[in-house]
Symmetry: C2
DNA sequence: AAAATAAAAGACAAATTAATCCTTTATTGT
DNA sequence: ACAATAAAGGATTAATTTGTCTTTTATTTT
């Protein structure tokens, strides 16, 4: 479904969101440990997300990654996926045609678009704030 | 969503199904041309599908690929995806946890499982026969 | 100012996926 | 039997994704 980059990215951001919710910044070491991902690789991913204003970062002692209150409420999972995997998942043809198109549909088009739209809506409607608060109520895991 | 292998495989099989519906066999050249895919690569994919009894093949003049009437009715898209991409798409965690599990769910689990199940059901309920007859009624495309 | 900390940046390396090319095997028609 | 046809099989190459390692830049504490 998603690339490894995107999987690690989503997990990392969710973890940062959780900590940001209690005003903590987290280092790349702490993140890689919490989500059980290759540290250097995860650092690269967070670099991209920082450039794209999904997360914020501060260098030096007591620095680290965090997400400001506004972003926490406005950033949805769809935004993260768009940055890391592009929008093929939102607009691409399930059978790999160059153009997904109602007028020139592949045999799976109408069935596939339905699934794709549901996925899109789900990602768009899931904000970091929702996930962060939800994780305080129920037990969820970012590694296993 | 699917690998290139799977995309080409699905398109190829749908094309073969269409032709088999009118008792025609098709060569790898005709297939690659019809679905606009790299010929040698598509040949490899069909080799796998032949081994897994999704399609049948006959060598030599007047040979080619085809799908027998029984397979046409019993083979669903889910079977093709399973052969070419494995079942990660049916059982894997959306955030890439090693194990997707109701008891130790990732933060996206319950929302993601719903999407995943819908995709699974769609693929399971779409048979080659349905696609082949459907394509005779409405205009669908296997390339663009 | 110097040392320590932590992310950013850049250059590589490894692994996987996508794709090609060449040879072999099976089948058919002449 | 022989030439032609078409898939099967094997080896190789190319491209992309995944992952590592080292250096640089920014910030803070002493
Ligand atoms: S054309 Fe294939 S999904 Fe739209
Ligand atoms: S644990 Fe992540 S989808 Fe089930």
């Amino acid at each position: 479904m998603f690339s490894k980059t995107c999987e690690y990215g989503l997990r990392a951001v969710i973890f940062i969101a959780l900590e940001s919710n209690v005003d903590k910044k987290v280092s790349i070491t702490a993140i890689a440990d919490a989500i059980e991902s290759p540290q250097a690789f995860t650092a690269k991913i967070l670099q991209q997300l920082t450039k794209n204003k999904i997360v914020q970062s501060i260098k030096g002692p007591n620095g680290g990654f965090f997400i400001d209150d506004k972003s926490l409420k406005t950033v949805a999972l769809s935004n993260i996926v768009a940055v890391l995997d592009g929008d093929a998942i939102y607009t691409g043809c399930g059978l790999g045609l160059h153009q997904c198109n109602d007028k020139k549909p592949c045999p799976l088009h109408f069935k596939f678009v339905e699934i794709r739209e549901n996925l899109k809506k789900m990602l768009e409607s899931t904000t970091l704030f929702e996930l962060a608060t939800d994780m305080n109520l129920k037990e969820y895991f970012l590694k296993n």
